[in-house]
Amino acid sequence: MDILGTLIHGLNLAAIYGLMAIGISILWSSIGMINMAHGATFAVSGYAAWLASSAMKPVIAAAFGKTLMAKFAMAGVTVGAGVTAGAMFGAIIYLLAFLPIHDKPNYPVRSLIVTLAINLATVQLLLWYFGPRSRGLPKLFGFGKFEVLGIPIRYDQAGAIISTAVILGLVLLWLKVSRKGLEIRAMMQNPEGAVLSGISVRWTALPVTMLTGALAGLAAILLSQTIFVSPTSGALPLIKGLTIALLGGLGSVPGAVAGAVIIGFLEATVGALPFLGQRYVLFAQFLFIITVLIIRPRGLGGLLDETRE
């Protein structure tokens, strides 16, 4: 078993699951929605990136030929289309599953059902329109590998890990310093106090859904460097994102990051162990999450919090 390679693989998975889990966690704590349509956002972003990249391929080839610029342009188009589509789909979820029902009784359950319906409908729509065939996205980071301290790292792994770290860092920084970010954090911590501070839930929820949608879009692009885009490709990331968000203690961003790292490494390790292998990955993950939640029903989040409630 290749320990160092497993480490890198685990970090790669952690990056992608982390993007999903943080989105789910932020959505739950700020607007009280468990977004079952996060998987649909994932799939839609993948298809949008595929459509945009195949439409722009001849244009880019004509403009830049086979230069390095062409690669950058292709990467820009793919990522831009995926992230934009994710944000747009987030806005659709806001319009369908938040705006009409957010002040009705039992909103968490209602929104769970509505977003689940959006998820199922979107997957069927994608199946009907694009067919079940999977599509490959252009390789953003190229083929090949390099070595750091004797560890072989594939370009797409390094790209996924680094771009996730950068994007997440930027998002968390934005949440910390900007005024909108302050409002979102206030809403995450105490919705009642937030409205008393003149923060409108309706107008703050829109950037939240768009931001989390964009994160799911980025996750879709990054995961599609390893697997293909298909209508159901969002299902597994959704399940893993949800369980990681639960493991981290729904609503805790540091908890979600820690959960993603643990689950990513667990998946990589179980998959690499000769007597277990890939088919035991989900089994081991759920066993682990259930064990943690039995011992600590609030998840990991409380351990990382600096303050008392």
Binding site: P105, R185, N190, G193, V195, G198, S200, R202
Partner: protein, 246 residues
Amino acid sequence: MTRAFTPPISKSPRMPDVLAISGLTAGYGPLRVLHEIDFRVAEGERVGLVGLNGHGKTTLFRAVAHMTGWQSGSIKLNDTEIGGTRSTGPGRRTSAIVRKGMAMTPQGDAIFPGLTVRQHLDCGAYSKLAWRERRQRRDMVMDIFPPLRSLQDALVGKLSGGERRMVSVGRALMVDASLYLIDEPSLGLAPKISASVIEALFSLPTDGRAMVIAEQNVALLSGRVDRMIGMHAGRIRGDVGHVGLE
């Protein structure tokens, strides 16, 4: 049932009403907490709202902010109607009402534990003007509550109960509201600390604004508010002018 209720003669000539409530009924689900309340607060007044636990003081405040389960009746804030009948959606209209000039400090520590004192105070500066002037306004709050000055970068969740209450009240002071609703500023605090919080509240100028303080500890308010109003079982049961308790 409507109760004949005459407002007492406190200050004359009577200033315009900041808050005028009539026929307010409110509750949560099947529970009816307030029964046909009529209540007025004039500009420049400090009103004490006293009564036992569970008799509707907090619900009255929450009804003004549209945070009850359901409510009906007229509420006028500076002659603008903000009341009306509502059966669902607590909190939906609250931010709009806050922007019309109502500042409320909720009961207990309804605060943002993960923000620093500075960020927490900034949250209160929601208007464009207040956001631009937030530095001066923070300074003003810290003049009122000097202990906060050295704690600006501390997380609110790590502060003591008294300091948290100061932050919670200070947040409401970050904008120029016309009506301040302060719910139980002394709740759960040591007598010395609660006295200093109340002291700070009374040091605020009252020109152009009005303040209603809900309190169980009548002695803390005695002799210092313009009127004292008693609540019992969801109705207003007494309205007296200047009271001194010794």
